[in-house]
């Protein structure tokens, strides 16, 4: 049986979602996208000129091969996120939306309250909604209840490349989830992505680590392999983790050995 990611009524063979920001040119982004094997890409609506005939980002994404997941980056309130989502749909983009409500431009932390509000509205309007959230297990459950298609907890502050700093909380989210969990933000190297997949994440989203690598396409390919490896390990079922090798039982060993008389 092939292992596919079922998300929002579609299935994806790749469990790597790629972001399109921060690249040095659309061509570099496009090469990295091809090397990543990703089938879903996020695009910041604020970068897209929806009125223009040509677009520096979307023109480089073949929509027959990749699903464009517009994000609401730049929105600081629920109202703004909802407006951007409607705008994207009216411009002909698919009704998928990654909800980012970030009132704090310094550490770029998502607003849990307004994220929930925006998701409620957008689910009601028929969008397939993927919220970007802090690794907050209760918020993840509340979002499930309003009908989001997945939850996207951050591993570490966005762009920081610091890896699974929120590991303990993400583990709880994964354990409790009834929708796919996409670990988003803060993954710096392929081993971080592999670790997230080994933990049981359904997918990961990577942008900065690929976009700002010295060789973005090579790094994209490395992430592809890491995500596959991590997922494979998860499905294989890992060997139990043991403390130091301990062959004997120090407290009860006497029962099995003959004490010198």
């Amino acid at each position: 049986m092939t292992d596919v990611l079922a998300l929002g009524g579609r299935s994806f063979r790749s469990r790597l979602i790629m972001g399109t920001g921060k690249f040095s040119s659309p061509e570099v982004m496009s090469d990295a996208l091809a090397a990543s094997g990703a089938e879903m890409v996020t695009v910041a609506l604020r970068r897209v000129d929806l009125d223009a005939k040509t677009n520096p980002i979307t023109d480089f994404i073949d929509q027959s091969k990749y699903l464009i997941l517009p994000n609401t980056s730049g929105a600081a309130t629920a109202e703004e996120a909802v407006r951007l989502a409607r705008l994207a749909r009216s411009a002909g983009l698919p009704p998928w939306i990654k909800v980012e409500v970030i009132p704090d431009p310094h550490y770029l932390m998502p607003d849990p309250v307004d994220t929930l509000t925006a998701c409620e509205t957008l689910v009601r309007e028929g969008f397939i909604v993927l919220p970007y959230i802090h690794a907050d297990p209760v918020l993840a459950k509340r979002l499930e209840e309003v009908g989001v298609a997945a939850v996207m907890p951050l591993a570490a502050p966005i762009g920081s490349g610091r890896g699974l700093k929120m590991e303990a909380a993400i583990a709880i989210i994964i354990e409790q989830a009834t929708v796919p969990v996409v670990v988003d933000a803060g993954l710096g190297v392929p081993s971080h992505a592999a670790a997230a997949m080994e933990m049981g994440a359904d997918a990961v989203l990577v942008n900065t680590a690929i976009a700002t690598a010295a060789h973005p396409a090579r790094m994209a390919h490395a992430f592809k392999l890491a995500v596959e490896a991590g997922r494979g390990a998860r499905l294989a079922g890992r060997a139990p983790e043991l403390r130091t090798a301990s062959a004997s039982s120090p407290l009860t060993g006497f029962l099995h050995t003959k004490e010198p008389q």
Binding site: G21, K22, F23, S24, S25, P26, L45, R46, R47, V48, D49, P56, G74, A75, A76, E80, R83, L84, R86, L87, A88, R89, S90, A91, G92, L93, P94, P95, P103, D104, P105, H106, Y107, E125, G126, G159, S160, G161, T208, A211, T212
Partner: protein, 385 residues
């Protein structure tokens, strides 16, 4: 407490003086630390740090790429007026200077806007001198609303205002303000600003937080280099930005520190800043404020601007004119200062791409402002649903 109330210039001078004795170890330890103390920032601006420029530049570059990627946002200033009631010794618009004065009518503003939009600009900074009669709050609000019909991002660089004006401009769709303190040095400030409302040092210093309280999303602060000691100015600028991060946590902070150059009136800056000092300053600011946008204007020559991109700059103007009406009818009015980079926007964008960066004309959506394009329009009418 406002920044004007808590800002202590003497503490800045003292830290600057202490940093004269900083050694390389202190500079390196500061560069590697997280949120920095006053003395750690001063160390980055110290003579010792000046001997470690390449190291600091590497650090600044990697922090910039981590945060902003390999992108440079492009914007254009649009000068609305050069009529002014202030006398400022370094400014080409200063009252009393014999230049052609003009305030653009709305139709002229729109002609300028369309000229800029035809070059690809989607981010316009409306700039004006200070004149309560010709450049009042209502006129500026109207300019913002009209310009916002053509481009997605509009900011104002105008006189310091009070909260009600900022509220009106936010409601008109204004996405940000730019308000340089010019010099943070309270002794030197009145020597340059000798007449008009701009004499009010403290009121100007507290204006960015008034704008933030009104809901302004982007705050541009800065100092004009050449008016006082650049180390003092940079340290004060970092202090100001750190205050705004704590007190106006919703606002994006951008900083700029243009070197003053010649304009009508023939002003010569008493404390000029060298290229090496400017490089040190950019690196120090980036390391001290990793999340701040750093804005570079066309006051700097083309060759130097190209070099500074790799160090920490995130936004640049291009193809600028500093006279009202200068894009559609050049020569009709006096310019504020003389430009050193006279390349067209297309040439600048091409050069940025050659340097391995993506020139970004649009990085904002007008629906993030108050006036959404779909507001009031039923969703069924939209094409994609």
């Amino acid at each position: 407490m406002t920044f004007a109330q808590m800002f202590d210039p003497a503490a800045m001078w003292n830290a600057t003086a202490r940093a004269r004795h900083a050694d390389k170890a202190e500079v390196r330890s500061s560069a590697a630390s997280g949120v920095k103390t006053l003395d750690q920032v001063a160390a980055l601006l110290s003579p010792a740090a000046g001997t470690l420029l390449e190291e600091l530049a590497q650090r600044a570059r990697s922090l910039t790429v981590e945060r902003f990627g390999k992108t440079i946002a492009l914007y254009a200033p649009l000068y609305l007026s050069n009529e002014c009631v202030c006398t400022c010794t370094y400014c080409g618009f200063s009252m009393g200077l014999d230049i052609k004065r003009k305030t653009l009518r709305i139709d002229e503003v729109m002609r300028e806007t369309r000229a800029l939009a035809s070059h690809g600009f989607r981010n316009i900074l409306l700039v004006s001198s200070e004149h309560p009669k010709y450049v009042n709050a209502g006129y500026l609000a109207q300019c913002v609303t009209e310009v916002k019909r053509e481009v997605q991002y509009v900011a104002l660089e105008v006189a310091a205002a009070q909260t009600p004006e900022y509220v009106a401009w936010v409601e008109a769709g204004c996405d940000g303000i730019v308000l340089y303190q010019e010099t943070y040095d309270p002794i030197m400030y009145p020597k340059y600003h000798i007449g008009g409302p701009k004499k009010q040092y403290a009121s100007r210093l507290a204006a960015p937080e008034r704008a933030a309280a009104a809901g302004m999303r982007h705050l541009g602060i800065g100092a004009l280099l050449g008016l006082s000691d650049w180390r003092f100015e940079a340290l004060s600028l970092v202090e100001h930005a750190q205050y705004l991060y704590r007190h106006c946590w919703r606002a994006q902070i951008n900083v700029s520190f243009p070197r003053i150059n010649s304009a009508a009136g023939g002003f010569a800056p008493p404390q000029p800043v060298s290229d090496a000092e400017l490089v040190q300053l950019i690196c120090a600011i980036r390391i001290a404020l990793p999340a701040a946008g750093i804005v570079l204007s066309t006051r700097e020559p083309a060759a130097l601007r190209d070099r500074l991109i790799a160090l920490g700059i995130t936004q640049m103007s291009a193809g600028s004119s500093t006279e009202p009406g200068g894009y559609s009818t050049p020569g009709a009015a006096g310019e504020q200062f003389h430009l050193e980079d006279n390349r067209t926007p297309e040439q600048v964008a091409r050069r940025i791409a050659e340097l391995g960066y993506d020139p970004v004309f649009k990085d904002w959506e007008q629906d993030l402002g108050r006036e959404g394009r779909l507001d009031g329009r039923p969703l069924q009418e939209s094409a994609g649903s």
